[in-house]
């Protein structure tokens, strides 16, 4: 009973991937429908040698690492903070999660128009109040601006997972460390941080998967520019296939993106696998 079902499953899951790979070796441009046939590694060659490819790869990495740094460190600090008993704990915990429920498009628009706008944005108003000048965030530091937007969206997720991990820490371990003479800092380094290792791994890997495919924020705000300053890999795939209408090249870019994502997926699977054993 199991085998045919598994086979159907494999087809359902695998065929889209196989098709992508197949098309990535085909000539297939919607603007020149007569040019078809096997293209060899031509699509890959053109995609990789495109002047936008290198910046896109670097921007993708910068974006991922930047967001991870902010959300992981910020998430740990927030989790430690929210684990303390204080008045109004329930409401604060709820509010911390709020950004997670704002749609990426909306979030990007809010940041762009209401905070980062060099004339009417909140930051500009604050700068002016102190006698400074409005800073054109999206024009001058487009990638950093996008990192801030994405990090704002993902911080609640990181906080939630890390807080859950923190709350599963056996109180007696902390007490034992206290009796063993460990200071607050030692307890954090030797007991709390090692306990959270797995949760941190999960946060990093899951976020990586999603941040690798950040797209809406870029489209809504900078459109990848100025120049290639905020262009990342998914956006380049989009440009190649939709704007340039070259499906073959888009597929090649897609394959590269999938390989990149699967390297991450490999590690994620191992971490989740360990979790399931546990």
């Amino acid at each position: 009973m199991v085998s045919p079902a598994v086979a159907v499953l494999l087809i359902w899951m695998i065929v889209p991937l196989a098709m992508t790979i197949w098309f990535s070796f085909q000539q297939y441009n919607l603007l020149y429908p007569d040019r078809t046939g096997f293209a060899g590694i031509e699509n890959y060659y053109y995609f990789i040698t495109d002047f936008r490819f290198q910046p896109a790869i670097w921007n993708t990495l910068r974006l991922v690492l930047g967001v991870l740094a902010i959300t992981t460190i910020g998430g740990i600090l927030l989790a430690l903070l929210l684990d303390q008993p204080f008045w109004g704990q329930g409401i604060v915990r709820l509010l911390v999660l709020a950004p997670f429920f704002v749609m990426p498009t909306v979030s990007a628009l809010v940041w762009q128009n209401m905070f980062m706008d060099p004339v009417n944005g909140l930051f500009a108003h604050i700068a002016k109040a102190f006698g400074g000048d409005g800073y054109d965030f999206l024009g001058q530091s487009p990638l950093m601006s996008i990192i801030i937007m994405v990090a704002w969206q993902w911080l609640p997720f990181a906080t939630l997972i890390l807080l859950t991990a923190l709350q599963s820490l056996d109180r007696e371990q902390i007490e034992a460390a206290e009796m063993d003479g460990a200071s607050v800092w030692s307890r954090f380094i030797y007991i709390i941080l090692p306990h959270m290792t797995r949760a941190i791994t999960v946060v990093i890997l899951i976020q990586t998967i999603f941040i690798l495919s950040v797209y809406a924020e870029i489209l809504v705000t900078t459109n990848g520019g100025p120049g290639t300053a905020s262009l990342n890999l998914p956006f380049l795939v989009y440009l190649a296939s939709i704007v340039d209408n070259d499906v073959g090249m888009g597929a090649a870019g897609g394959v590269i993106a999938i390989i990149l994502a699967n390297i991450v997926a490999f590690f994620l699977m191992r971490a989740i696998g360990k979790n399931l054993e546990h």
Binding site: D170, E175, E178, M179, D180, G181, Y190, P194
Partner: protein, 332 residues
């Protein structure tokens, strides 16, 4: 070293008073067991001594120094937790060395002390394993090892055997007692199991609702319980209690007689009854007899007498082993 005095110690959680003013003296080198039913405050009392809970009032003195406001680490006590509280990501060696590392001891000195402790507890081969790879008994031993290396003024044990199975529990009980004989350090031990209390303690402190019902040596508590609570808590199987006419005849509200002080006869005696369940342990048999005069009475019979379900038997309490209690449950 290891003299601890509690003076008028009070603990409140919010509005709830868990421990009303309580005085207790623990002498140097003594093995003291706090025993009582769950919720009696025995663990709270231990945590107050450890410094893991703050006292609401009163003072705690350790070796003549007022330790009431000292943090746990400064009190010079070591604790073995119920869950063992080993650090799961460290090897056994690192677990045991952790308090030494925190005290800033050199790695060589740490290693020397860890080796010594491992020798005492016979676990040299386990040093490179992690807690997750150890059995319950081995974890227990590591937790004790981590307490030993600090050479504390006193050891605090919080129900350390409650997660072990019956056979292992007996072995570890013996090991801890032997450890105490070797180290001669003060030990304070919390348990709900009166067998552990009886077999291990120099002094038993019976707690009930935060109050000390009685404190004394195991045999003292067994022979002269101050009230019904202590009488029923100490001894296994439990003491039989009889009220009504039978007690009145002895000028008491309730009388108590231990199963081992009830004689069973197949021919005559004051209490006639039928055998309910007979539990054969080999060395002894516990017979539960339903009597008309005195309700269900448990009798312990040594050796060979064979009785079975439904037999009619007669019971006689040994006259000089009858405990008498007044209406408040206090021994007369």
């Amino acid at each position: 070293m290891g003299q601890i005095t509690l003076s008028k110690v009070v603990k409140q959680f919010g509005e709830v008073t868990v421990i009303p003013p309580l005085d207790l003296e623990i002498n140097e080198g003594e093995f003291v067991v706090f025993v009582g039913p769950s919720g009696c405050g025995k663990s709270t009392l231990l945590r107050l001594i450890a410094g893991l809970e703050d006292t609401s009032a009163g003072s705690i003195t350790i070796d003549g120094v007022n330790a009431t406001d000292l943090p746990p680490a400064k009190r010079g006590l070591a604790m073995v937790f119920q869950s063992y509280a080993l650090y799961p990501h460290m090897t056994v060696r690192k677990n045991i060395a952790f308090p030494l590392k925190m005290a800033g001891m050199s790695p060589e000195e740490q290693e020397k002390r860890v080796k010594a402790a491992a020798g005492v507890l016979n676990m040299n081969k386990l040093l490179d394993r992690r807690p997750g790879q150890l059995s319950g008994g081995q974890r227990q031993r590591v937790a004790i090892g981590r307490a030993i290396v600090r050479e504390p003024k006193a050891f605090l044990f919080d129900e350390p055997l409650s997660n072990l199975d019956a056979a292992l529990r007996m072995g570890m009980r013996l090991e801890i007692t032997e450890l105490h004989q070797r180290l001669k350090t003060t030990m304070i031990y919390v348990t709900h199991d009166q067998v552990e209390a009886m077999t291990m303690a120099d002094k038993i402190v019976v707690l009930n609702a935060g109050r000390i019902e009685q404190a004394g040596s195991p045999l003292e508590l067994y022979k002269n319980p101050k009230n019904i609570f202590v009488a029923s808590f100490i001894g296994s199987p439990k003491m039989n209690f009889v009220g009504g006419q039978v007690a009145k005849y002895h000028n008491a509200a309730t009388i108590g007689v231990r199963p081992e002080h009830v004689m069973l006869s197949t021919s005559s005696g004051p209490w006639k009854g039928t055998v309910g369940v007979a539990e054969h342990l080999g060395s002894d048999t516990f017979v539960h007899v339903n009597t008309e005069e005195a309700g269900t009475i448990t009798a312990r019979i040594s050796g060979e007498v064979v009785v079975k379900h439904g037999d009619t038997v007669w019971l006689t309490p040994m006259p000089d082993k009858i405990y008498r209690f007044d209406a408040e449950g206090v021994a007369i």
